[in-house]
């Protein structure tokens, strides 16, 4: 009897899925044309994109790069592309971009802000990309604040050196006094000695050394700062000043000490309750009234202080969010191990709380960098302040899109890369449970 099977004994080869559900066509059907509503939406958005691009691309590319004024620009475009074509006049960017980046900084000294900018990245290396750069570089990071300021403002090299010396003296005092009088006295000495040094002796030290060994670079006044250089200076100082200050404020707000807590809450809520512009008015008009008669220090320094305080209040709230998000068990475990308050903060609480608050911290950074444009209202020459001058120039009167578009692009590049970095950092530090 021959073997009869009523069921197929061997598997059929798998058939390829229908052509309309895979590959390019499948992707299009799945993402763009599912149902009539989506199809209409897709077609409409394509029309919008086409409309926008058909306006922007010819304007961008059929443009003029070399002209001395808007009028010449228009003539050149009319000659090249016909009477009715509207093209961009990039000549204004070509003529003024250096000014937009450096303000009125002396042009033979441009290497200094550029060097400062790149050494900023070298200094940030150990902090931002710790696993890719040598550990020794952290020393450069430590001296960068002084080095960068010295490059920008110039002057005698003894001034930053005497400022650094304050920290060194503080450390020495801590080391000397702790074995003799105990750790608390050591901490007090470490705080008091540098302050005394800076108030009483630092300037004398710097000026006497300067008279013995004059060593320095040409000094540049603050009012010559401008353009993106000014924005970046204010932004970087505010960002790195506000982080430690914000952490201290957040700890103060979370602490059990009633008076300290009240002071911190008052400061944070006050700063967050008023617009930055009013604080800048304080910097430009009131700070001189609040300080001892005869004090008259630089407007950029005043703005730096105010923007840093402003950012610190926001940073404090972000860090507080991180502290609050930490499970109570972490605090209790730290207590159970017998760690004191500062050890617990440094070893257990802060590393976790800061990690949680990275997105908030970076978005505060971005906010601060964007807010640096506000200084144009109190007549500092940041990019927006310079722009008003360019638009008032009779050669370029009537030019709008090119200039604002250029500024918006530069700001976008800075802020967008910061936000991408924060995403990278979040992924890198992601250790926990999904």
């Amino acid at each position: 009897m021959s073997e009869v099977s009523f069921v197929r004994t061997e598997m059929l080869p798998e058939q390829a899925p229908p052509a309309t559900t895979v590959g390019f066509v499948g992707w299009i059907r799945h993402n763009l044309f599912t149902g009539w509503f989506n199809s209409i939406a897709t077609v409409l958005s394509m029309l919008v994109i086409y409309f926008v691009l058909s306006k922007i691309l010819p304007w961008m590319f059929m443009s003029s790069w070399s002209a001395g004024s808007l009028h010449e620009c228009r003539e050149a475009i009319a000659a090249a592309y016909g009477e009715h074509h509207e093209g961009a006049c990039w000549a204004v960017i070509r003529e003024r971009w250096i000014q937009l980046f450096f303000g009125f900084y002396p042009s033979e000294l441009y290497w200094r802000p550029i060097l400062a900018f790149f050494s900023l990245f070298v200094a940030l290396g150990p902090v931002l990309f710790a696993e890719y750069v040598p550990k020794k570089l952290i020393w450069f990071t430590a001296i960068f604040p002084f080095f960068g300021a010295w490059l920008l403002w110039g002057g005698s090299i003894w001034v930053p050196i005497s400022a650094i010396l304050g920290f060194v003296l503080g450390y020495v005092a801590y080391r000397v006094i702790t074995p003799i009088l105990g750790s608390l006295a050591g901490v007090i000495a470490a705080a008091a000695v540098p302050v005394l040094w800076w108030i009483a002796l630092a300037s004398l030290f710097a000026s006497s050394l300067e008279s013995i060994i004059p060593l320095g670079i040409e000094a540049v006044e603050s009012r010559k700062f401008g353009g993106f250089m000014l924005s970046i200076t204010i932004g970087v100082v505010a960002i790195f000043g506000s982080l430690p200050l914000g952490i201290v404020l957040a700890l103060g707000r979370q602490s059990d000490l009633l008076i300290v807590k009240a002071l911190c809450v008052g400061f944070i809520e006050f700063i967050r309750g008023v617009p930055l512009i009013t604080l800048l008015f304080v910097a430009s008009t009131l700070l001189n009234i609040f300080l001892p008669p005869g004090t008259n220090f630089d407007i950029i320094l005043r703005v730096l202080i105010m923007v840093t305080l402003f950012a610190a209040a926001y940073m404090a709230e972000v860090v507080r969010g991180g502290l609050a998000a930490l499970p109570t068990g972490q605090y209790e475990a730290a207590d159970a191990l017998g760690l004191d308050y500062w050890k617990a903060q440094r070893l257990i609480i802060m590393p976790q709380a800061l990690k949680i608050s990275i997105p908030g911290i970076v978005s505060t950074f971005i906010g601060v960098f964007k807010d640096t444009t506000l200084v144009s209202i109190i007549a500092l020459l940041d990019p927006l302040g310079l722009l008003a001058g360019i638009r008032a120039d009779s050669n370029w009167n009537g030019i709008v899109w090119e200039l604002y578009g250029f500024l918006a692009l530069i700001f976008f590049i800075f802020c967008f890369s910061m936000s991408r970095y924060s995403m990278y950092l979040e992924r890198k530090l992601q250790t926990g449970h999904q």
């Binding site: 958005s45 994109i49 300290v260 304080v282 964007k370 209202i377």
Partner: protein, 419 residues
């Protein structure tokens, strides 16, 4: 056998203030308080010395002196002889106007964009991402001055509307004129209105027509609410919901139409007279630029909040609602939104707060808000920088703190009751 003994009584020693944790916190607090008081005292004495040197006496008397400047965009009567305080109030109202307008448009735009960013349609989701990223990553001040520059440089001038072959024409059936000086829209007029009444010793004129309309609207909304409540009760009792939409709509529309007819409501259209438009309501270019830029900028943030709020609701909620047999629209209204709003509202309100604070950038485009009047021209004319800036900060602080109070109240009312 061991007996429990009291620990040896320790007498208080001065060093315990530092080395004993029981007393150390007290020491720290006292030191902080003393330091704070010294700092405040130092600032105040400096201020007093400086003011004495400048020959200024801190006083708010200048607020009742004539301001001597004009404000072009105003909700209340004002002329250059009015006192500074009135200028400040007008400025405050302008701040609130742009803040409220901005919050409304930003919310509408932001919610739409946030929902569309989650769309399954690839191209729409990408377009919305581009919008959000490009508006969030550029300073709001840049957007404000950019909007102002576009309006003044590219829109037609009022004189372009003149003549037989005018370059520009009015929109929407000759009722709206969009010019580089601002937008002229029809204004509501009442031919047989009840008139105005002055309050607070002629400080403000309150339009009775407006009051009547608002009162009627409020009453209609209450009645409409009652109808809904009754429908809810019927549904709870019988399971069938009576159709009420026409009654609820009618109770609002019909009395309002009658009132408007009685008051002789009509629109006053803007007309081109001479070199400019007259009649109608003039929304100045500065207001338009500020409003547009603030709402577009804030909308990008609101979109992200809405997106995060919707994503925060787990998918199981939707599936459970479907399993119960709820339709998609009811799933959204009864299950997803109430939970998402708990996540969305607090950051939303803090964005409203940011918008209000950012409206102080009005000074960059010459919109006369609180910063422009009190901390701008009044400061420059009277030279009272201490008083004006402190007063302005106080007003902003009051606005912010009241908004935060609303937020805290809301947070407490929707807090999950944990057992």
């Amino acid at each position: 056998m061991t007996t429990l003994t009291d620990p040896p009584k320790e007498s208080f020693r001065l060093s315990m203030l530092i080395y004993d944790t029981r007393y150390r916190s007290m020491t720290i607090q006292v030191v902080a308080l003393i330091g704070f008081l010294i700092a405040i005292g130092w600032l105040i004495s400096n201020t007093a010395n400086n003011l004495a040197e400048l020959g200024k006496e801190p006083s708010f008397g200048f607020l009742w002196e004539p301001a001597g400047y004009d404000i072009n965009q105003r909700l209340l009567d004002y002329n250059s002889q009015s006192p500074h305080i009135r200028a400040a109030v007008i400025g405050l109202m302008n701040t609130l106007v742009v803040a409220v307008l901005g919050c409304i448009t930003a919310t509408v735009l932001g919610v739409t964009i946030g929902v569309l960013r989650l769309s399954k349609n690839w191209i729409i989701a990408r377009l919305m991402t581009i919008y959000v990223e490009s508006f969030r990553n550029v300073p709001v001040l840049l957007w404000i001055v950019f909007a102002m520059a576009i309006i003044t440089e590219t829109l037609p001038q009022p004189k372009d509307f003149r003549g037989e072959d005018a370059i520009a024409t009015m929109k929407l059936g000759d009722s709206v004129a969009i010019t580089n000086r601002g937008v002229y829209i029809p204004e509501p007029l009442f031919s047989s209105g009840i008139g105005d009444v002055s309050v607070f010793n002629d400080a403000f004129e309150v339009s009775l027509d407006l009051m009547a309309i608002l009162a009627l609207l409020g009453a209609s909304l209450v009645i409409s609410g009652l109808i809904k409540k009754r429908a809810d009760q019927i549904q709870a009792a019988t399971g069938v919901r009576p159709t009420t939409w026409y009654a609820r709509l009618g109770v609002i529309v019909i009395p309002m139409a009658i009132l408007l007819y009685v008051l002789g409501f009509h629109l006053g259209y803007p007309e081109l007279k001479g070199f400019n438009f007259t009649g109608g309501t003039h929304l100045r270019n500065s207001l338009i630029a500020l409003w547009l830029a603030l709402s577009l900028y804030t909308a990008a943030f609101i979109a992200e909040i809405v997106r995060a709020g919707i994503l925060a609701i787990s998918k199981g909620q939707t599936e459970a609602a479907s399993a119960l047999g709820l339709r998609p629209s009811r799933t959204m209204n009864l299950v997803i939104l109430p939970q998402a709003l708990r996540v969305i509202i607090p950051p939303l309100i803090s964005n409203y707060l940011n918008l209000t604070k950012n409206s102080s950038l009005a000074i960059a485009v010459g919109y006369m808000d609180l910063t422009g009047t009190l901390m701008g021209i009044t400061l420059n004319q009277t030279g009272r920088e201490l008083e004006t800036v402190l007063l302005g900060m106080l007003v902003y602080l009051t606005i912010s703190l009241s908004i935060s109070m609303v937020m805290n109240w809301y947070n407490n009312s929707v807090k999950l009751r944990e057992r």
